[in-house]
Amino acid sequence: MKKTFRGGTHPPEFKLTAGFASQKLPLPEIVHIPVTQHIGAPGRVIVAKGDEVKVGQPLTEPGGFVSAPAHASIAGTVKAVGNYANPLGKEMATVTIEGNGSDDWFEGIEEDPDWQSVDADEIRARVKNAGLAGMGGAAFPTHVKLAPPPEKPIDTVIINGAECEPFLTSDHRLMLERPEDILEGARLVARAVGARQVFVGIEDNKPDAWEALKQAVGEKNDIQVEMLPVKYPQGAEKQLINALTGREVPPPPGLPMDVGCLVQNVGSCVAIYEAVRYRRPLIERTVTVSGGGIKQPKNVIARIGTPFARLIEAAGGYEDDAAKLLMGGPMMGMSQWTDIVPVIKGTSGIVVLGKAEASLAEENPCIGCGRCVSVCPVFLLPTNIARLSQLEMFDEAEELGVVECIECGSCTYVCPSKRNLVQHIRFGKTTVLANRRKQAQKQSA
């Protein structure tokens, strides 16, 4: 029996690009680099319009502990500092750089020959300087995760190679193309937090990736590479921890460290490795460009800040019926109104859906089939919570755990009545959280 979690569903995989080696995109002539690409305090911009910058040059100064700097991803001239469209939905402070065609790196970014012996504090410092943020989507600054409070020791590091979202194959390709680097990154993480075991979780639709990592571990045997059955949302932090260790992360504000775990995405591992060994900031990442609305789906390696349109062009452009543009996979991705938005650190994929795939179904009444209950990976009653949220009965929804929803969308996916369950729940959740904040403010005032 393969290890897994309870609940979840199995949407069609559509891994169209699993067999395509990642292609390095030519240097973009312009990039838009959001100043803040993570949860936490925004940084202070330290460049101005007209400045010359080089690849890897910091553009901001972190605004606090839960903050990471942004870096120039191409060499050129700063054309603007201001608000610009962002794939997260809102406009955000952004530095726009026009490239000069060269690929000159900022001074000081070079290999450290003694990188194998750096201590935990130095690992954290280099990770912070490299501006790393979670690459799976949530984008929590990585150095914060690497610094657990002393009362919550971490014994297990989990490397997330599940990639359970349909279409996306960027992590899959990374596991095939750079297995050693992933493992080195994982070892650095384990060293930084003092963990005694390291797992890599990979879904069994990627046996080649499992094989590659297994081989890379080889005789050393210090990292357990585990095969997990294909099931969405296996790549969700809490579900992956549960699948591999049997532990259950307590409900929010509970964090993986409460059960002694730390989860890093495979992309983050490579970035950590590069940050520590080469002192290299995160300036590019693998992005899957796929979906029925794309002519030649493929995986590309793109500089941070490259407009989506450039990646789509590289993938042959849009099919005529392209109707929906997503950052991320179709289960949790965010739909975009335009393709001028830039690739950010959390852009694992760009998925374009055709008209038929994107069409919205009409909502019908719940027939009580209970499918949402059986797929919910955090054991909620989605249909009841959704109904309470629709009726704006937020106290009752809170009682049923509305804020514990991880918004994976499994309930909406399986609903035969085509109810927008997670959407209603999201509404309830944000309202409850906003009310709580208001309450807290009132109390502190």
């Binding site: 406009e91 532990r247 392209a322 289960m331 739909s335």
Partner: protein
Amino acid sequence: MVSPNDSAPDSGATPEKPEEVKPEAKKEEAKPAQAEKPAASAKPAAPKPVPPKKKEEAPQRQFMLSSSPHLRDTESVQRIMITVTLTLVPAMLGAAWVFGMRALMLILIGGAAAVVTEWAVQRVFKMRSTVGDGSALLTGILVSFNLPPGVPWWIPVIGSFFAIAIAKLPFGGLGWNPLNPALVGRAFLLASWPLHMTKDWLPAFWWKLPGYSFFTWNVSPSKLMVDGISTATPLEVAKNALKILKNPEGNPTDILATAGDRFAEISSRVIDMAVGTIGGCIGETSAILILIGAAYLFYKNYIDWRTPFSMIAVVAFGGWMFGGAEGLFTGDALFHIFAGGLILGAFYMATDMVTTPITPKGRLIFGVGAGLLTLMIRMIGGYPEGVSYAILLMNLTTPLIDRWTVPRRFGHVVKAADAKA
């Protein structure tokens, strides 16, 4: 790479459409209003005029915006209802074989009446028609399945009408009805025409008797009885015999003996009950044919094993414990499983999605409760069979059960071992 532009800062509503794409943009003007929102906010500070050279030929696309997930399973209510209906086909054909063309006609009349009722009521009240979802047809068929095979044609019509027009639509239609409509229809018929509903039994293969044919419509159950052919259902026979056997005082020995014989005989016909070659309601006699359909429902994950199996287990255990003539634990469990409507009720009525709990534990409780009530009605109630009332009563408790059986949420109990590790 079109800039949300500074070239026309006063163009207001459509700031994201630069001049060179006007023709295409116009066509798309009527697109979803949501698309405007982020665009509008993008306008004021949008900084960079991006060289628009490459984009000149390509029109700017307008994308649909919605909240994730963007994928939907192909499963739908309609597909579920049609599939469930199709799984009843074996039992329908079995009914036709045992009770003649008449039974099949009654099933079709019931189904058609339900569909017509739903269509007409929704039309009269100017509601959106939901006939297409297939639930009305299924209800109508289930109403007919619960009828004795000798009833007049208007019985299924009234039953289906009541099920749809009273038990389903006034509550808001599919999804909102608190009680199983087909069972409400049956309960209404039983209360209104008790003679038809309790006496219109036909023996298996009556159409092979002299004077009748497979296509015979007119048949008088009472006349068959006069001719000396027993038309009673096994549960009726067993219940009457058991009553006599358990109270021997005041009964002459020959009556006691006959009752004993009857009781033994009916128990010996368990095979007939499983196959369906015995008297009973149209759709409920052949356990095997119903189980074939139910197996497919399990395979498709349309029904939860918890409800039917707990219900049947309770009835079987209770039947074994209390169903015998010679004291405790002398009853016949198999007889209680296959007699009457337990199999049909457990697999097709107690698993009705709308009127039963959604929580796993709740479904177990529902099944146990329905089993206990069935048993009580069979053993001490006034009717020989109690499956339908048992399920209706349990339907009423569904909201309460759901409330009491909210599952433990993820992360709320940390096992001691895990906490240490």
